[in-house]
Symmetry: C2
Subunit: 561 residues, 2 copies
DNA sequence: CTGTTGGCACACCGCCGACAA
DNA sequence: TTGTCGGCGGTGTGCCAACAG
């Protein structure tokens, strides 16, 4: 054996020099992951980053440091995104260089908008969860018929038996060769020679998944997706999990104080949720007024690397961690799920993760309203998803009801450009002329429609629908808000943040102490509270009797809360 | 296969519940590692901790954050020490809970003193570096004869061939069974059945080492020591190395500011040097006046897990990182080694790592002066090592020259108790009556001795000694210092530190800024500089022409510099 | 005394169709 | 259509003594 290249920890960093194939990376990351493009604006949530660390350590950290000077979100310029894969485990992750910004250009916002349109999920691929037979040393890999015919080069069926040699390269550009044969009674596609070394080298077990991709040059690519239980535990004999948490927060705080760049790793399969959100996506979500009882859909990954939507209901709104992350938008929605496979789906989500369904129609089963939207399961996501959600939620305003031209201006939240011009001109005519669909009083909407044709609602009274646990009437009533007063509040807060971001952290702390003593209404946290209690036309409901004690169910009017 | 326990990442944390065998841990950690006992006082060097992180990441981090408020050393109470081993790699590490202290009790200092006496290296053990044959699938493990006879249970040699079943448990209390047989021509001890699964499970390669220990209950213990090239690389897809560094420093800074406990991991085989030093060891070292050209010995680990001393010369004194860690004692000595296997031995060391040899005798080869100290290689270290070093350095004052009683009071630096009483009584009679041997002018010593019997020096003019690269006369001349003026300077600095440790970090910075503007002589860093330039009888030499540009060769008189 | 090698036996890896779900 | 099984052939693991350094 010459120069034993340490099969245990193969030459770290060698394969990293070449850039990793983006299609393959996204295939391994899963259909839900879409990275914002470099040069765009994003919202970074240190709280979510901290969750990724905790998940990676696989232990609940009792002691989580609080960083009072670190806001729960930072608007950042995303300077750089590089794709990586762990040389040992093939675990995919992305490295991002972020820089907190105090002001930003129109181009960056546009780029942020572009980010939503990118779908990186490869088109020609298949993903199979390995069976016991697949991973056993006893035999090879049974290839699903459709997958083999779609992805693999065509066999010469005149041979007896038809067979060929396949070469596929993994994330590190290592080539793996397999004997692909079509045999047996009945006939089936199999990978035989070469398969078992792949399984043992990658340390695959039943339940893990492999995926094959045919790229644009008809080259075969090969990736793996490990089962959840097998995610890298990272026992970390290097630094304590406390120091990791502190490091994450301190790095962000330092960057925020100096407007300097900092680097993070995003690990799509270890992290419970993405914590770097395109600003456009975030802003779009912010035009949704979340309310108790609101129905929504949320996308999840299927076993076959496809997507499926599950229905849920907002059951509570309030800080996930009221001590350390007060007034944070991170997972501030408590939710329940229609199909109660508890544990699989999160009990808390963030607003930008869900596709709201306007409440008056929660009793209407989706199949009726969406005959023209037969979303293929397994099809890649695209940028129109959010708009689709609106269309599906309010189809009576869409194509089915003859309002063809409405989609561009009325439904899907503001486009960023529209919003920007509004913002710059300080005019709010847009709101007056019909934007902010979810903020329009649902009661009046409901009234209009039901008076138009009530039978359409009654005829389809939901077939076997679990009873909602909250009072919908109450919840709905608070949707009566005044968009005119909301919009300024949103941006005044962010503008308040700007001078603080430019201040070194020690001066900032000093400054805060003075402010708290003398003019408490100028400190950033206080600012949020005052805007919350500012007089608006909204109603504030209290559901403390039904909600868990830890949940604050106060509904502030500021959509930026 | 029932409930596949994921051979890849075995149930993390299960084996951790039981406490790890201390003997085995220390066997795997190596003979140089001795952990301070819980309850003792230690000196923590964040710079060294940062080095461990860098070494673990196996990449030079360009960006290392500077923490101007974090001193280069923290005196801490060591609250807790727990031994651990990575479940995947068996890599040993220790978790320590430290708390910066501003004042400390006599008991704690005594405990710190005790720490030096502990030697954890097991007595009944053997360690063998695996050969190609040992790790090959072709055969078993060849046990060195002496090792087998010393450690393994005796064989029944009446059997043909003599054989038995051995059971040894590893760090995680997993049992491994081997067939131990004595056969072949010539006869030899072999481990056959069971050995290859151990090798493959632990992923051992030629060059790695295994060690067998027989504990007090005659139970066999089994550990591994991987070759350096195979140290865990920790590709860390969780947080960036920047954040790791920041986390380490921020955790320490936070703890220092609040006098609150913090947790660190010490990884003896990944870390270039220990960075948690018993206060007693540190203090003892501080009574050595390092000087350019000074000769010293330093202990290194041998392949067989023994120890060996190498001779070296101090070639420069100055900050390793003048920007981020100014006036740090961490590796502030540049050294050259007599046996020039460059790369193996560090080019920079800290004062407490070395055993000084007083300069006038650098030309005297050790064999002559130490006929009575035939240190057994492979023998465990003990607390008398430092004193031994002095004895060997100045044997003319020791047993060989008829000053039997001298060892207790004259040589080995102050005992902590002696120092404490001195400190409390503010009396310095100890210094006047012959303490601080290394601070006594070597010239006068040299003069006395040479006038006594110069032939003893000249007769043994070093046989083939590499020429020193620095001017020894110059270097020696600065050893003329006045111990009476030095001692107060030493401890006034530490007393200065105490109120600062109690101050939150932001106030501290504020305070420092004021001080720098108004009374610069009170800030901690300035204190060091002023004490350097304070009028003493010392001479300050400048060797900028011979030393590298990055090295400060100013020699302050304060031994605490 | 111990590292490597050739010889040899047998266990299990891995290819095959037969089933059945 | 595809997961598992019994069948069987061949490779490679692993025990042995013979050398040699």
């Amino acid at each position: 054996m010459k120069a034993p290249t340490n099969g245990f920890l193969p030459n770290s960093g060698e394969g990293e020099r070449k850039s990793i194939n983006s299609e393959l990376w996204h295939g391994c990351a899963g259909p839900l992951v879409s990275l914002p493009p470099a040069g765009s604006l994003v919202v970074y949530f240190p709280q979510g980053h901290s969750e990724q660390v905790a998940a990676s350590m696989q232990k609940q950290t009792d002691f989580i440091p609080s960083y009072p000077n670190l806001p729960s979100k930072l608007i950042c310029m995303l300077h750089n995104v590089t794709l990586h894969a762990d040389t040992e485990t093939d675990e995919v992750y992305a490295q991002m260089t972020l820089q907190p910004v105090s002001k930003y250009e129109k181009e960056a916002i546009l780029a942020s908008d572009m980010g939503l349109k990118q779908s990186r999920q490869p088109s020609d691929f298949f993903c199979k969860t390995l069976t016991a037979s697949d991973t056993s040393t006893h035999g090879g890999f049974s290839v699903p018929r459709r997958a083999a015919e779609k992805i693999f080069p065509p066999l010469d069926y005149s041979m007896q038996p038809p067979a060929q040699e396949l070469v596929a390269s993994d994330l590190h550009d290592n080539n793996w060769t397999f004997r692909h044969i079509y045999r047996g009674q009945p006939k089936r596609h199999l990978l035989t020679t070469g398969w078992s070394v792949f399984v043992s080298t990658k340390r695959l077990f039943a339940g893990d998944s492999v995926l094959f991709i045919r790229d644009e040059k008809s080259q075969l690519l090969l990736g793996i997706k490990r089962a959840n239980r097998q995610q890298s535990a990272l026992s970390s004999s290097v630094i304590s999990s406390d120091s990791m948490h502190i490091g994450v927060l301190a790095a962000a705080a330092h960057a925020a104080a100096n407007n300097s760049p900092f680097t993070i790793f995003f690990n799509p399969r270890a992290s419970p949720s993405e914590f770097v959100i395109p600003l456009a996506k975030y802003n779009k979500a912010m035009y949704t007024q979340a309310s108790l009882g609101m129905r929504f859909r949320m996308v999840f990954e299927t076993e076959e690397s496809g997507v499926r939507r599950y229905m849920g209901t907002i059951t509570g709104i309030g800080d996930m961690d009221p001590v350390r992350w007060k007034n944070s938008q991170w997972r501030n929605l408590q939710v329940g799920w229609d199909e109660s496979t508890t544990g699989e789906r999160p009990s808390r989500v963030s607003l930008w993760e869900i596709e709201p369904v306007v409440t008056p129609f929660y009793i209407c089963p989706p199949p009726f309203f969406r005959p023209k939207f037969p979303k293929q399961p397994g099809m890649p996501e695209d940028e129109s998803d959010i708009e689709d959600a609106f269309k599906r939620a309010m189809p009576w305003l869409g194509d089915d009801f003859g309002m063809k031209d409405a989609s561009s201006s009325i439904f899907p939240g503001l486009s960023l450009v529209q919003w920007m011009s509004m913002q710059q001109n300080n005019q709010f005519s847009a709101a007056q002329s019909g934007y902010f669909p979810s903020m329009v009083s649902p009661n009046s909407l409901h009234g209009n429609l039901s008076s138009d044709d009530p039978s359409k609602l009654l005829n389809f009274h939901a077939p076997v629908m679990p009873a909602p646990t909250v009072q919908f009437n109450k919840a709905n009533s608070q949707n009566q808000v005044n968009p005119l007063q909301q919009l300024p509040a949103v941006w005044s807060q962010q503008q308040q943040l700007q001078p603080l971001l430019q201040t070194p952290i020690n001066q900032l702390q000093q400054q805060r102490q003075q402010q708290q003593q003398q003019e408490p209404h100028h400190s950033p946290q206080q600012q949020q509270l005052t805007s919350t209690s500012a007089p608006t036309t909204s109603t504030t409901i209290t559901a403390a009797t039904t909600a868990p004690a830890t949940t604050t169910t106060v509904m502030p009017t500021s959509s930026f809360k």
